[in-house]
């Protein structure tokens, strides 16, 4: 059974369409990524699937339950880590977990074992008695992940799980997420605007832009669309003859001569570099430097949306993100 099925889901805020006629499904056990800049509609999508926002139109089922008609069943089946922290700083780590477990109706014995279990998982057992307002950003994130797991959800939503964390903590949390998905079999939907994150974690990635999916596939296949690696050879002088010879090679897909720089698109670029240099020598051309660029999801994003994700973020900031009031939050 699919963990999530979405049909024509749409959300409008005062005439602004945040999520535009989205349809997709996530099979059970998958680690699915929503990649896009701020304001692309990722958080709005998650909030609708988590029953916090009502869709303007369209339908969705989460863990088999309709998000409009069986809200409590959906709520029981999901765990969620919000983009902004959603902890009570005046409670300790354990009290935050205890609060959550009681809200989900777990009995005392189950609460004790599960809380011990999740604290162990996120390595916060020794910090459980400290007020959450004294936690670091990374600790708060880990505590929220732990909290989302207490009631053993079938679907887990992670909204920008590593936003604003340092590189080391980010790695740490990635490993948790992977371990979690592998060991518990929970289906995970995560949003991110970090390319590496989507690439490293997700089985499939949807590239989201202006409320729609620009593309949806496995990261490797998305990158294949670009046709492979790019090898740039800086030559001592522009050489038409070299460029013509290279063009005849079967394994070179694209050739571009830009002044003294020769750019080639090809698969397995690292293995072809020696051949290319040999060929240049035969042509009496000196290669000054070689640059190999493996395609990233950043390139994929550029390919599908015509912009880099950073440019998109800037655009969004200039236009002003749609939000209700100064504390409306990102969506």
């Amino acid at each position: 059974m699919d963990a999530i099925q979405v049909e024509n889901l749409t959300k409008k805020f005062d005439g602004f369409t945040a999520v535009d006629d989205l349809s997709f499904s996530v099979p059970s056990g998958e680690l699915f990524g929503l990649l896009g800049p701020n304001g692309a509609g990722k958080t709005t999508t998650i909030n609708m699937l988590a029953t916090l926002l009502k869709p303007t139109s369209g339908r969705a089922r989460v863990a088999g339950f309709d998000i409009a008609r069986n809200r409590d069943d959906v709520r029981r089946s999901i765990g969620i880590v919000f983009q902004d922290p959603a902890l009570d700083g005046k409670l300790t780590g354990r009290e935050n977990l205890e609060f959550h477990a009681m809200m989900y109706g777990l009995d005392r014995a189950t609460r004790r074992t599960r809380i011990a279990e999740v604290l162990e998982l996120v390595e916060l057992a020794d910090k459980a008695k400290i007020l959450v307002e004294k936690y670091s950003g990374g600790m708060k994130r880990r505590l929220e992940i732990a909290r989302g797991l207490i009631h053993r959800p079938r679907v887990m939503f992670l909204d920008e799980p590593t936003l604003g964390l340092d590189a080391q903590t980010r790695r740490h949390i990635w490993d948790y997420i992977r371990k979690l998905n592998k060991e518990t079999g929970v289906s995970i939907v995560l949003t991110t605007h970090y390319m590496e994150e989507a690439d490293y974690l997700c089985g499939r990635v949807a590239i989201m832009d202006a409320g729609r999916f620009a593309a949806l596939d496995e990261p490797a296949r998305l990158k294949d669309v670009l046709g492979g690696d790019v090898v740039s050879l800086e030559l001592d002088a522009a050489s038409e003859s070299l460029s013509d010879q290279v063009r005849k090679l079967a394994w070179v897909k694209r050739v571009k001569l830009h002044g003294a720089e020769l750019s080639l698109t090809l698969e397995r670029g690292d293995r072809r570099i020696p051949e290319l240099i040999a060929l240049a020598q035969k042509n009496k051309t000196t290669v000054v430097s070689v640059n190999l660029h493996k395609p990233s999801l950043e390139d994929v994003f550029l390919h599908f949306t015509g912009k880099t994700i950073r440019e998109q973020d800037q655009d969004q900031n200039e236009r002003g993100r749609p939000s209700r009031g100064p504390h409306g939050g990102r969506r």
Partner: protein, 255 residues
């Protein structure tokens, strides 16, 4: 819809833990009514405010009024605290749980009422230290019932505002244009018959008027309306406010 008692309990427990840990907030909340009691009491006691009834001293007349004022503020703030939870994101955590919304409202009211009542009782004890006398246990229980109804009514009101407002920006407006007028219209600090007739009419739509009158009836044996009438009016107000508060809260979006 069945009330989820575990959820109500844990929401109440959270409120208690928060207030115990925010001792400075409790002290701050007690300070204002105490200053009012001390300075108004000292300032007007010798002037002989007319219309107090029953040969009362002004300071004794003032005690139930300031008690009502303390309950008005602490309860409305307790209802408004939903806004803080929204600000700090914790509201989402509450709203995404499979607990029905009525239980969430009941939990909030239970927590807020307890905090407001504890503050009210502390104020009453301080008043007794400076010479205020409660006639007996029955009078105390009746007064306690009024305190409860005042607390519940204004938590409901706070919930309505919190659900409509979305963020903290309207806080000053509510403070200045709702809470202070309600306080002054209630007759907390002077007998209502000293107000012009037109203004008195406004007093009769202010729940606090009946709450404080009931408190005076219970604690001093002097009231404008029969105490039973005050009790019925307050009971009606509290039911209406809670239902409206729950209704608005249910409809507000939490993100």
């Amino acid at each position: 819809m069945i009330i989820n008692t575990t959820a109500v309990y844990v929401l109440w427990l959270r409120e208690m833990k928060r207030s115990i840990r925010a001792k400075s907030r409790v002290v701050g909340a007690l300070a204002m009514p105490l200053f009012f009691l001390a300075f108004l009491g000292l300032g007007f006691n010798r002037m002989g405010v007319p219309g107090l009834g029953g040969g009362l001293k002004y300071i004794h007349f003032l005690v139930p009024g300031i008690l009502g004022m303390s309950l008005l503020f602490s309860s409305t703030f307790a209802g408004l605290s939903v806004l803080w939870d929204r600000e700090f994101g914790f509201l989402k955590e509450i709203m995404v749980t499979p607990v029905n919304r009525v239980s969430i409202v009941v939990g909030r009211i239970a927590g807020g009422t307890t905090s407001a009542l504890i503050q009210g009782l502390m104020l009453l004890i301080i008043a007794m230290v400076i010479g205020f006398r409660i006639p007996g246990p029955a009078a105390f229980l009746l007064a306690f019932l009024f305190m409860l109804l005042i607390a519940v009514t204004f938590i409901g009101l706070g919930l309505i505002f919190a659900s409509v407002m979305k963020d903290m920006q309207g806080f000053g407006i509510i403070m200045n244009f709702v809470m202070f007028p309600m306080l002054f219209l209630s007759g907390a600090m002077y007998p209502l018959k000293n107000l012009p007739a037109v203004v008195q009419m406004l007093s009769y739509i202010d729940p606090l008027t009946f709450g404080i009158d009931g408190l005076r009836g219970a604690l001093l044996g002097v009231s404008v309306f029969p105490v039973l009438f005050d009790l019925l009016v307050m009971a009606a107000f509290s039911v209406v406010m809670v239902v409206l508060g729950a209704w608005f809260f249910e409809r507000s979006e939490s993100v």
